[in-house]
Symmetry: C2
Subunit: 287 residues, 2 copies
């Protein structure tokens, strides 16, 4: 099974857990709506790629970890889209959850997806690897090091830019590399740099997309950074400078891969993902 | 140390974890504001009482479990108070989090408290008891059996009343009894009934308070059930009928306590909590 199929199966299995018995139907539907069909699934793909590079001796555990990480990512999108944050009407080319289902159900969808993530990981075993996954997932999602902290910086009178980017975007990439390593029984510490650097690259690529693409091909509103006065690499470095920065960061990411059985394959995967996150029409523009 | 001190210490230690490094300050303050000073701390008190009845051989673990459960409860209050749900201006006698800090910070406070709960539990060990705690906490908070599902029922065109009450109120009491048992190495299944019955009693007592008390002594808006058209025991049975139901449920709860070293003390604690959840001025009215 290729990675995309493994991720889709694991996410579908997670959603089935939220549908047992007699759940409130609209909330149950909203959970599916928020997660299927997915986006690029970049974070769980990275997680499974690291697990593979480390031997992936418990694929059911790495599948659960991948599903959990994707659920957390989807939860963050649902809450970020809320009227009190980005007030986004669309996401992945369809109405955002609060537009399709209501604001109360969007709040509950985000909450429920967060909880489903922990439920899914904790069902996958009862040993130290499972606890390690819970630790990383909680740390990189919550306060003070996770995406909640990142979003929280947007409510501060003065922003710590480095903390902001580390928490807002890089955190879930660090979760991806570390959870992949933990699933396969490897030490997560060695894998933090790779996640942090890929996260940084992704942030720069996202800034480029936000600044340069149109809403139709992006599937969500564009120019949100400029609109909300949020800092971004294009404003800081210009388009050319941001492209140069992106290439430097990716080179550093590949150099940071710890020694492991699947090191070469993982380096190829990081390069492939990099090509994927910089949209083709943008790359063509630069050619 | 008495139970209240243990709970306060554990919650304070949890909040300190959210404050490490350089967190966004307003969100960090909002987390403390939402949890300290606490309410009656009924759920963590029940958790520690069950742990004590089961021998409490790992008090650091039961303390962490108690803090986690209280954090989840506080998170649910913050989200329930949001404008799109109860739109409550006050909570525990002070402005609700979204009134004091803003709506974005209230959403993030709820999310961050949920994540802090899992963080705290996962830091308390790396064995099967810890995983058991994560499982129960996720199940009784999320979909389809937890408080998120309960809140979700309020967005359904037709409500399954039994499921609604089981999920909306009883779920965290079941979490309390089961997490207390797990912390002390006992089988959680035997403890579900006690939690479910105490939860049912609490729901009836809450309905009585909502119907009969004034906002000042309750510290939050009253008559919310009538205002939002939510079902409750007073509307169904009248005040006298609701009191009779409450007594029956409590007798059943005490009868359901599994055989364990501290059975008698736990029965006394349940009676004491029952006296506590029916406010004095209400009990006097009925005398």
């Amino acid at each position: 099974m290729d990675l995309t199929d493994r991720i889709d199966s694991a996410v579908t299995a997670a959603l089935a857990r939220a549908n047992r018995g007699h759940p409130p139907e609209r909330l149950a539907k909203a959970l599916s709506y928020a997660t299927l069909p997915g986006g690029a699934r970049i974070r769980p793909t990275l997680l499974l790629s690291v697990a593979a590079a480390c031997g992936d001796d418990r694929p059911a555990l790495s599948d659960s970890a991948a599903a959990a990480l994707e659920l957390i990512h989807c939860a963050s999108l649902v809450h970020d889209d809320l009227p009190c944050f980005d007030d986004a009407d669309t996401r992945r080319g369809k109405p955002s959850v609060h537009r399709a289902y209501s604001e109360p159900l969007a709040v509950l969808t985000g909450d429920s997806l967060i909880l489903l993530a922990f439920d899914v990981v904790a069902q996958a075993g009862d040993d130290a690897r499972v606890v390690g996954l819970v630790r990383v997932l909680a740390k990189r999602t919550g306060m003070p090091f996770g995406i909640c902290a990142g979003q929280g910086w947007e409510s501060e009178p003065e922003m710590d830019l480095a903390e902001y980017h580390r928490a807002k975007t890089a955190a879930l990439f660090v979760a991806a590399t570390q959870m992949g390593a933990i699933s396969a029984g490897h030490d997560p510490e060695a894998w933090e740099d790779l996640g942090a650097l890929i996260g940084e690259a992704f942030q720069v690529a996202d800034d480029l997309r936000d600044a340069e693409q149109d809403a139709e091909s992006l599937g969500k509103p564009v120019q949100q950074d400029a609109l909300h006065g949020r800092p971004n690499a294009v404003a800081e470095l210009g388009v050319d400078g941001a492209f140069a920065r992106l290439n430097d960061i990716l080179a550093g990411a590949i150099a940071s891969i710890p020694s492991c059985p699947g090191e070469a394959a993982l380096a190829r995967m990081v390069r492939a993902q990099a090509d994927r996150i910089v949209p083709r029409q943008l790359a063509r523009k630069r050619a």
